[in-house]
Symmetry: D2
Subunit: 334 residues, 4 copies
């Protein structure tokens, strides 16, 4: 039985806690760390016996095999230093940190204190992505030539969150950048991004945007185009296409039901499922299962620290490109 | 150059006339017969030089290879007797006649005066049906086990038309009965139908209905289910499924464009294309090409008099079943 | 905390047990009854402390509020008599029993010893059906005129099961008959069914069929058409259409992902999800939640004994119609 | 009756000729100019009485109201000078010319000798685009924020054609650039394009590419992303999305039929319709009707010389961006 501590009991922390507690029989959350009474109550109702407000105290008092880090991004750096020092295996929500310097520092720490580290790009474990990746690995398309991701949120997060989140490129598009690289299977060499503010939030005041298109250029001559928006009135839009010499893999949105109604106006289908918690329900469970399995089998998890660093680099490059209105070489970011 | 006379210049007659005149280079409409000045004007604008009100006069004065009969069903019997006697090849709109006795009489006439005779079940020449039939012939499914047709009109015809049309089973469902038999490739043995009046027209007063379901049972153990309605507010609904041991062939409705709009309510697609003239535009041309080609090559057209007789029998059986509220053996109809 | 006993730990019994244990915080399975060691092991791993081979013993030794009856249909009658006598609330898998006489007997018993009784037509709680029912209740279509259900299994059950299951109409189509009645909201007056054997199993030897079409005629002039097959090579086919004066509600199959691949041959989409356990995962949970909620609120569950009796009557009528090759009045079945 | 001369009887010239001859009753092709005997034969069979090899001779001998210019792009410049000098109204296939200098020269000529001039961006008249434009004009989305076009050919043209065509950006993507600008309704300020060669043709040798992505940035803060490929094994891919504050308009590919087959592997749909001649059949007719109508009503056609110049500028900017691997300001192209 793998003993887990969960740090942070916001939306994502809760998802991980429940998944481990109810759906992964070989692991158990034995301690949780949260800043709120509500978090404690949530954890206790699900059988977590020890709750802490201090990560240090939790590490000192409870015997843990691994930690799920779902605290706010701004706290990751401090928490990760503690976890690495304590030699706990780590499942870390994305992004690792907003600062490239910090992430590079942590990388060195990790190299000296090697533990299993998995970064939470759960979408790689979405059944849709698993299916597409499998078919790519089976050479159904040949080498991917052009990848396209559409990723639009049903509404923006609160300004409070945006201020510390790193903005659209570091908080939201980073998922898409990771997926694009993962599916292309090649290194990005150049990034072009352009972005605007169309919604009502005063994003310019915090240097953020709500709508963007990013083009990634890869070493293998392929490219990826990513479209992001925070303001999709028709719901959470998560689509993907991979084009290659032998054809195209394509995924469309999922709705809660396949019910349509035909009337005098036309044929009406329901909107896509709610938001990321609902849309990626299976991914969250799958990625945690993969993390636990890697621990059990003493293997390195698939999504490494390096993957987290790479996508951060892409996000920073896209932000720079958008801000400086020019093509940015990835080699400029370091 | 095949010389054609067209009898009847209602909606369907006009379609046939234009198709021959503009799209079949090896045939030419040289004479037309119509009861209306408008019909004459239409024909003349499209290069038809001789127009008549009398079929007999047209047959006497113009040298014709073949005749397209698109007059009202009630006139078919008289017209067909004249055409057979004159030994003209005949393309006859469906149904041949509403009376089984009349049709059987005409069959004997034809046997004694053999001419090429094609009955206008144009839907067999719809690209959709051609594709499905081809795949069935290629044994993609094995023997069809269950066929399902949905055939719903965007609105009822005027009461005037209904009174003489033979009603839903003889005027409308007859197309579906022909298709079901054609695709099943076996003989119908029994028919069950049930029908209701849901719309606002006083159909009961003329012994008609607006909504029906018919089950055809075939000698090969297969069955077909046909759903008809005159009152489809969402437009002309023309769908088809064939189920067999190896899978299912399925066709859905066509719209004018593949444009959808996603908004706060959902994803909205356009309605199916207008009505039969628009939906079966290609079928009308294809069937006329097949008729002309058969004439040129001196071959018997595919859709024979017998096919017209068969589907009439099915329509009469369905009507009887619905009226007498019982299963009807096809052998009862004769 | 509602204390539940589960009788029968086959596929369905296990589903109910896990749903209660992991997903319904206000209920708990405290005892289970099973004929197999495997069943015991399954239950114990999920925290059920008491396991029995005898229903009587379980009822005698454990304090229970309600029982989930998922034993083989052939045992339902004996088990139900015990449960009613013990005045336990009952969630009973469908069908209640294959014999109309038995079911009518049980009804009298229940009338004398009233307990909450819910019959397990879980599909009514499928998100698809919930959405369709809600829209019907909102008068989106007006009165339903024609309902069509397609229900095809990806493969037949073993002959062993078929022999005691009651066959296609009583075991499989009964779900569809229940749904059709539920959605039409009117009483069935007549039933016509025709059926064949197309697959390789020697079903004729046990009086069963593998392919059928059934037409239900309702008091409100509406009808329903149900297509069933045990041999759908393309997977579990569960579709539904409701046609009415204001339009059509329609549901198509669900696949595991919305991924398609386009290649030289065309555009290829995945098959429907596995089988009923996967397809109706949400329904099984929803119906159990509804049962528990009714117990908590001391209300009569929606799916009553009468509903179980009604659908059994329809199944028997369809079987009779198919066997006697004639339209059957529902009043003949009693 | 508008008297038309057609110059050039390649694929597109033939389409225009037939459309005028058979489908536009108020116009007539009275003369044609072609370099081939086959062209003459084609024209004569369709009732064109005068055929020439010399444009000058045709202009001298035949009284014409307007000319349809469908000669190879390399001849446009000479032909256009003659036509403008002769003060004929002009329908000119795209691109007007590959040289910005030439086009600017012609613009001055036109300003001095004003005639009606329409450039053949027929896709604006595609029912799909007409529907999308209409909905945009109705403010269904608000201002477009992000437009995406996918335009992939089922196979590359011969090297012979490519050498003089201007390449992917000037020959193929120019349609998409025109549509993007048209639908965005704003001026392009910057262009970023990146392109590769993935197919087997030695395109590098002629400075061409077969796969590209282009981002257009507009004055109104919107952007458009265009994906092009010459090598779509799954057929002619023509899709479009417009995203705005109120939702998304989206168009998918059209197939010849709506027939699918479900089998053990999945659900299979047919490929998109053949190529541009089939896909844009309606557009070619619609645009010619619009040209003729403008002539009849003495109005300026919608697609002006300026539109042709604008899209050429975009194509040149995209080519420059791809070649110089940097963002290009539109103001650099002049």
């Amino acid at each position: 039985m793998i003993k887990i501590g969960v740090i942070g009991l916001g939306r994502i922390g809760k998802v991980h806690l429940e998944n481990i507690q109810y759906h992964i029989p070989t692991a158990k959350v034995v301690a949780a760390c949260s800043g709120s009474e509500k978090g404690f109550a949530f954890a206790k109702e699900r059988g977590v016996q020890k709750c802490y407000t201090s990560v240090q105290q939790m590490l000192a008092e409870v015997e843990l095999d691994a930690v799920v880090l779902a605290s706010p991004t701004a706290l990751h750096f401090e928490h990760l230093k503690l976890l690495i020092a304590a030699r706990k295996h780590i499942f870390c929500e994305k992004p690792i940190d907003l600062s490239l310097e910090n992430v590079q520092f942590l990388k060195k720490e990790l190299d000296q204190n090697p533990v299993n580290f998995m970064v939470g790009f759960n979408r790689r474990y979405d059944p849709t992505i698993l299916s597409i990746k499998k078919q790519l690995d089976q050479q159904k398309l040949g080498q991917p030539q052009s990848i396209r991701l559409t990723s639009r949120d049903p509404g923006p997060p609160p300004m409070e969150f945006i201020k510390t989140s790193g903005g659209l490129f570091l908080d939201m598009a980073i998922h898409d950048f990771d997926l694009a690289s993962y599916l292309m299977g090649s290194e990005v060499t150049e990034v072009y991004a352009t972005a605007s503010v169309f919604g009502e939030l005063p994003l310019e005041s915090v240097g953020d945007v709500d709508t963007a298109v990013t083009v990634l250029k890869f070493k293998n001559k392929g490219f990826a185009t990513i479209e992001n928006s925070r303001n999709s009135v028709y719901g959470y839009d998560q689509r993907l296409e991979v084009f290659g010499a032998q054809g195209m893999l394509s995924s469309t949105n999922q709705a809660d039901t396949m019910v349509s109604i035909s009337d005098q106006e036309g044929v009406h289908h329901p909107k896509p499922v709610g938001f990321f918690i609902e849309r990626y329900q299976a991914s969250y469970l799958n990625i945690m299962k993969a993390f636990i399995k890697a621990l059990e089998q003493n293997e390195t998890p698939e999504l490494s620290f390096q993957d987290g660093l790479h996508s951060l680099t892409l996000s920073l490059a896209a932000k720079k490109s958008s801000e400086e209105n020019r093509l940015v070489l990835l080699s400029e970011i370091s």
